[in-house]
């Protein structure tokens, strides 16, 4: 009989604002990770990003497909210092919602590819939806993940302002069968 495999393995909910959320020892017994993020940021026009293994080198890249205000925006980010998971947002957004999937995060035979389905819900301004697909160009297994507010100019800036109270990140592990 098939056994269930969609297991919550890490969770953080901020009781007060802080600069990042860190999971310093990712459970290594799964094949893929699904991460549910609901975040609020401090600075207008910034985004939310991930950093793997505390690696600040410019080996992240991603494409953002976004639908906003009856139009579309497609943006490529190369040689970045973080993995983007949503489009730049506003500091009055009530929710920045992201479902992130990281594939083969333990593998050492390939770069790590991830995707994110995201949406911003604002109080009295425009909202948008995005599909982001990116790559961490490292064959190292992912053992640590940090989340922070980020700037997306140049090669990116990781950690530009606090994640606000109530921001939550929940990580699920999905194991491949035989």
């Amino acid at each position: 009989m098939p056994t269930s495999t969609y297991t919550q393995i890490h969770k953080s909910i901020l009781g007060s604002g802080q600069s990042s959320i860190s999971f310093t020892t990712i459970n290594s017994t799964y094949t893929d990770l699904r991460i549910i993020v609901n975040a609020r940021i401090t600075n207008d026009g910034y985004a939310i990003g991930m950093r793997f293994n505390n690696d600040s080198s410019g080996i992240y890249g991603f494409r953002q497909n976004s639908a906003i205000n009856n139009g579309v925006v497609v943006t490529d980010k190369n040689n970045f210092v973080y993995a983007g998971i949503n489009r730049q947002t506003t500091n009055n957004a009530l929710d920045n919602l992201m479902i992130v999937d990281i594939f083969d995060y333990n593998a050492t035979d390939k770069f790590k590819t991830y995707c994110s389905q995201s949406a911003m819900r604002a109080a009295n301004s425009a909202a948008d939806t995005s599909f982001v697909l990116g790559c961490y160009r490292s064959t190292n297994a992912i053992t640590r993940i940090d989340f922070a507010e980020c700037g997306d100019g140049g090669s990116g800036t990781f950690g530009t302002g606090n994640l606000q109270t109530g921001t939550s990140v929940i990580i699920y592990g999905i194991k491949a069968g035989s």
């Binding site: 490529d76 594939f103 599909f131």
Partner: protein
Amino acid sequence: MPILGTIASSKLVAAQGDYVSLGTSYITSNTTTVSFSVSNPGDYKLLELRCVARSSGGDAGFGLKFNNDTADASYAWQRNYYVASDSNTSSSYLGQMPTSSSDADTFGIVLAQIWNADSSSKYTSWMSFTGERRSTTGFAPQLLGVWKNTAQVTSVQVTNDTQGGTSQFAPNTRISLYGLK
């Protein structure tokens, strides 16, 4: 202060609402088609494919077929790149992966949900998030496909012969099928 926690592992017996593994193929040599059997297909309201794939040759697309129905006319799809789209009414398309000439160690992904596989009165459809990221460019389409058949799904084939090419799935490709009970 953050609340941090670590929670225990998988349940041993699946119940209604559980997400269960139905099989995985770890490819060690070039392979054209990966097939999974779906026992008790009526048990699963949703099937999900999770693929990490690379092509052995120049063909970047791969397809999805059901119950060993290999007739191209049985399938159709629409692909959306946000700034462009395309479609075909007589072939199957599931996702995109790097070709053999792409950057080393780069793999594409597919995250696809398959709907109505448990039904014997509706066509089976799938919704796929897919793409690949190279050093300076990438592709990230979303697509909808349909198998124009009302039969319950008893087997799933992920195949690299979708567009008449001769490429195969390259080693280190991994394809997994799950079911939501």
